[in-house]
Symmetry: C2
Subunit: 219 residues, 2 copies
């Protein structure tokens, strides 16, 4: 009985840690895109340095998952909750890596002038952060509706990405000197689109956890 | 005693399944890049259709992992082998997704003429497939040296990617009508570079499994 209680406390701690890791990578996305919009190398370095803590967090959470699985004999439903945590943590770590890649883009462009002020890119970043928060909430609250709602939000991000893609393509066509920067900005937006995919993945894991069914949210 | 033997048989089956899944995504990369080099929509469709089997394989392997973890009480070393399988399967699934994205690029370009015959892109694809095979061998053979060797191979892929990047950039600068296709080819090469990163990730999981230490192979 006591043991069981210890198990559920550990499970709650695990979920709290996942949320904390989620906040860390959310902050990393925010700072990375801010560093790019201001071409501020100091902020970019901060994002890059912060990634180690995200990676450590991943290792800690994974160890907790394995310990919970091995030392306790979780029931089927708890088993899926823990298995899902192991998938989510991988997505969060990748999101952190994307934030680092965006910050590295800032360092490559530092000292240049931006072709135009970044408006859509920070908007896209906000949308992906919002999706990430939804995904983690869906997991912790076991909320199927929130998880399913990610499909529509991911479509909106994809749409914005396509629009930015076309704009950058036109910029490149209009003036060859724009090509270098436009490519880098395109890759940044592609990373943001990937971050949205990771949030959508998390939503899919949650649906699987709750229903046992695989549902593609990402078309 | 019998139970223990059953466990090790299940573990071996799990590893065989992982290798099979590895072969499937290797084939997907090969076909996707072939479809692109020939702008052959039929092959591209084949890659896209094949992704469902990859996803099913992922679900199966994950279920096996959770079952092994829950029903048996694996010892610490087996625990890590299973935990690592759960990470690897995610990387393999993402590699499959990238192959699909490359195949979709073929469909977007179908009917056009390629700016120039693809030489470096198939070469990059071969390198990433080679890395993937190494990564899975390192896992199954518990071979630290093979895992560590991925670092150097990943550097070679990164170097080739940078070279292709510069070439495509020059193509875009030289003629605005090249921009659209060059962007798409650039994104394809970026995906191949990501596939190499996934193989490198697998190498990192293997090192962690064998030594308990996290080592960054990807700089």
């Amino acid at each position: 009985m006591d043991n069981r209680k210890g198990f559920h406390q550990s499970l709650e701690e695990l979920q709290r840690d996942l949320l904390r890791m989620g906040v860390m990578v959310e902050e990393a996305i925010f700072l990375a895109v801010k560093s790019l919009a201001k071409l501020d190398g100091v902020i970019a370095q901060q994002v890059i340095a912060g990634d180690e803590a995200v990676n450590e967090m991943m290792v800690d959470i994974e160890s907790s998952c394995l310990r919970l699985l091995a030392l306790q004999q979780p029931m089927a439903s708890d088993l899926r909750v823990i298995g899902t945590a192991m998938k989510i943590v991988t997505d969060l770590e990748r999101i952190g890596d994307h934030a680092v890649d965006i910050a590295k883009t800032t360092l490559r462009l530092e000292g240049e002038q931006l072709l135009k002020p970044l408006v859509d890119t920070p908007r896209m970043a906000d949308m992906t952060k919002d999706m990430l928060r939804d995904a983690l909430n869906a997991y912790v609250k076991k909320d199927l509706e929130i998880a399913r709602g990610l499909e529509q939000k991911d479509d909106a991000v994809d749409k914005l990405f396509k629009q930015i893609f076309l704009e950058l393509e036109e910029l490149m066509k209009s003036d060859p000197t724009h090509v270098h920067q436009a490519i880098l900005l395109l890759l940044v937006c592609r990373m943001l689109e990937r971050i949205a995919d990771h949030a959508t993945n998390i939503g899919e894991w949650v649906i699987y956890m709750l229903t046992g069914e695989r549902q593609e949210l990402n078309h």
